[in-house]
Amino acid sequence: MVLIPDFYFIFALLLFNFYLLMIVIALPKGALLTDSIKLFKSIGLDFSAFLDKGNRQLQINDPTNTAKALLVRAQDVPVYVEYGQAQLGIVGYDVLREKQPQVAKLTDLKFGYCRMSVAVPETSSYRRTVELPPHGRVASKFVNCAREYFHSIDLPVEIIPLYGSVELGPITGMSEAIVDLVSTGRTLKENGLIEIEVLYESTARLIAHPLSYRLNRGNIHEWVQKLRNQTEASTAARK
């Protein structure tokens, strides 16, 4: 390794401003993490250290020191990107829909498919959402999506915000229904719930900090293009 005096460091920084700045990418913990890391690995940025069981680090550089990744909760990805602490991020459409962040929405990455659905106990008589009792209760982690949906069908309901294990809402009798993400439907089934309506479908999305995108900071256009090409290639391969 060559040691560089500060002066030359600054000088180099000024000269190669746009090329050497390291971009920062916010990655979501949970369901989308493995596929996100696979995607970035395919364009030469390896963050697989996040997948190690023993890993406790919240930010790591890729081995070539080209980019840094932050490991954050899925709901927090658009926050880091909106405030410009990360230039790029991967997040589910469900989170974008729920939080309406001011970020650039660049590409549908086509993985992490799931749907936002209304579910009720199998034993209940409800088979369509319009059959739910007016002023009934609906438990959800996605309060805004739920509110917007019931508003759109003109059904007044009380939304009960929960942070996890939403299925317990109807099981314990606290609510008539839930609005939650469904991917395989196994959790619903094992808890005696059935899906009666799909609000929308969701996949992983590539988002960017709007100003960084406009100014092409850290050459992010090139990275975005690589991610797009890779997504197209793998979608084509799947077909």
């Binding site: 560089i4 390291m22 971009i23 602490q85 929405k105 660049l106 100003l211 406009r214 092409n216």
Partner: protein, 421 residues
């Protein structure tokens, strides 16, 4: 009971005030050197006045009610007020009008942003009753001079042309045009790609989405598009403007032409621009191949924005006669945060030069007289009176803590004993 300011409101303590005044005083000086005169308009306006231009949503205005039928609002920006004043109160004046301001503005934070700042300070200019390339150039050069005078590091101007973008959008069918515009303004490529558009229109939409970069490159790309005569005229003006700017500033203007920089409402009619600064923390990364890399852990801010609004003045004119106008506003808070990382700002509030201490009750009036004598100097001399109740040792400690260099002990007979700390 603890009295706190409302969420989003804040108090500025003396040091911050001194630093922000430094910024604002310099800006006002630059404005004056360019022939701009300060105007003061009312903090309160009718809500209708504030929202007439179409750029301000009533929900973003902090509204107030009095006993009249109409709603009042705290101004969220100054252009509406200045436009109103200029066409109604200054109609007899000579043209053009060069007006500048320093003022506080108020904005309701959007939902989900609890506690976000709601009172802001701005400094800005409006150049009214003047259109054309020269007026546009004046405003952009004035902006550049302001930033250079303050010593803002690493600033860029994002420059758009609302008229041109609007005419590039005219090829889209009316039914879908607003959606295309929304997607481009909000950088939502995913929705844009999924709109049902003919292939060549989709190509045009995606081209518009990324129509930004170095001015020459973007202009070349545009000239390859199918343009109507009015759009050609705008492009040719834009070219002249950029050439003129290139030759009229001491260094190349850090300009990025961005034709996706557009609002979803028709407030701006010509050039639009934002000044952006990147506050990069020079977090040193490991050396890579002999060259240092650094993490882009930086915070970008929009320091100010502006543009041309040639339809606005007509909305406030009693006979609806419209006239061109252009201006910009700089955000004092953002300039301040950006300058905090430099050594430009005053680091301390001004200290007092003298502390005058009456040694006995009989000396009190003599102390006031002596203090006033010290103050009556050509330059500012700051003189404090000691208000009693402290021993000489405590007084000296106080003086040291406050960086006061000279003490004047006033004797019973009125004569001072000068002491240097």
């Amino acid at each position: 009971m603890i009295y706190q300011p409302p969420a989003g409101a804040r108090d500025l303590l003396p040091l911050e005030v001194a630093q922000k005044s430094w910024i604002n005083d310099r800006l006002q000086q630059v404005f004056q050197k360019w022939g701009y005169q300060r105007i003061v308009t009312s903090t309160l306006e009718w809500l209708d006045t504030l929202t007439a231009g179409g750029a301000i949503e009533p929900s973003t205005v902090i509204q107030l009610r009095d006993n009249s039928e109409k709603t009042l609002g705290l101004r969220p920006e100054l252009t509406a007020s200045i436009a109103r004043a200029a066409v109604t109160r200054m109609a007899e004046n000579t043209y053009p009008q060069r007006l500048c301001y320093r003022a506080n503005v108020f904005r309701h934070p959007p939902q989900n942003y609890h506690g976000r700042q709601l009172e802001f300070y701005q400094a800005g200019v409006e150049l009214l009753f003047a259109g054309g390339v020269l007026a546009d150039a004046e405003i952009l050069l004035l902006l550049a001079h302001c930033l250079e005078d303050l010593g803002i590091p690493d600033w860029h101007i994002l420059l758009g042309e609302a008229g041109l973008t609007r005419s590039l959008l005219a090829v889209f069918p009316q039914s879908i045009r607003q959606q295309v515009r929304y997607c481009i303004a909000h950088l939502d490529c995913i929705t844009l790609e999924n709109l049902s558009l003919e292939p060549q229109l989709k190509e045009r939409a995606l081209c518009l989405f990324d129509l930004r970069g170095k001015a020459e490159d973007v202009l070349e790309k545009i000239s390859g598009l199918d343009l109507d005569p009015s759009a050609r005229a705008i492009v040719s003006n834009l070219k002249s403007l950029i050439e003129l700017l290139g030759r009229s500033f001491s260094k190349p203007l850090p300009l990025i032409l961005d034709l996706s920089l557009i609002e979803t409402f028709d407030y701006y009619t010509g050039i639009v621009f934002e000044v952006v600064n990147y506050r990069g923390d020079l977090a040193k990364g490991e050396a890579r191949g002999g060259v240092a890399a650094t993490a882009l852990q930086e915070r970008s801010r929009i320091l100010g924005k502006g543009g041309r609004y040639d339809q606005l003045l007509g909305l406030y004119h009693p006979q609806g006669i419209t006239s061109p106008g252009i201006g910009f506003a700089l955000n004092i808070e953002d300039l301040h945060s950006c300058l905090l990382l430099t050594d430009r700002l005053p680091q301390q509030t001004p200290k007092s030069d003298w502390l005058v201490i009456p040694k006995t009750p009989e000396a009190e009036s003599a102390a006031f007289v002596y203090a006033q004598k010290l103050r009556n100097s050509e330059h500012i001399v700051r003189v404090e009176i000691d208000l009693g109740g402290r021993s000489p040792t405590e007084i000296r400690e106080y003086a040291r803590a406050c960086r006061i260099e000279r003490l004047a002990w006033i004797q019973a007979d009125g004569t001072p004993i000068i002491e240097t700390v």
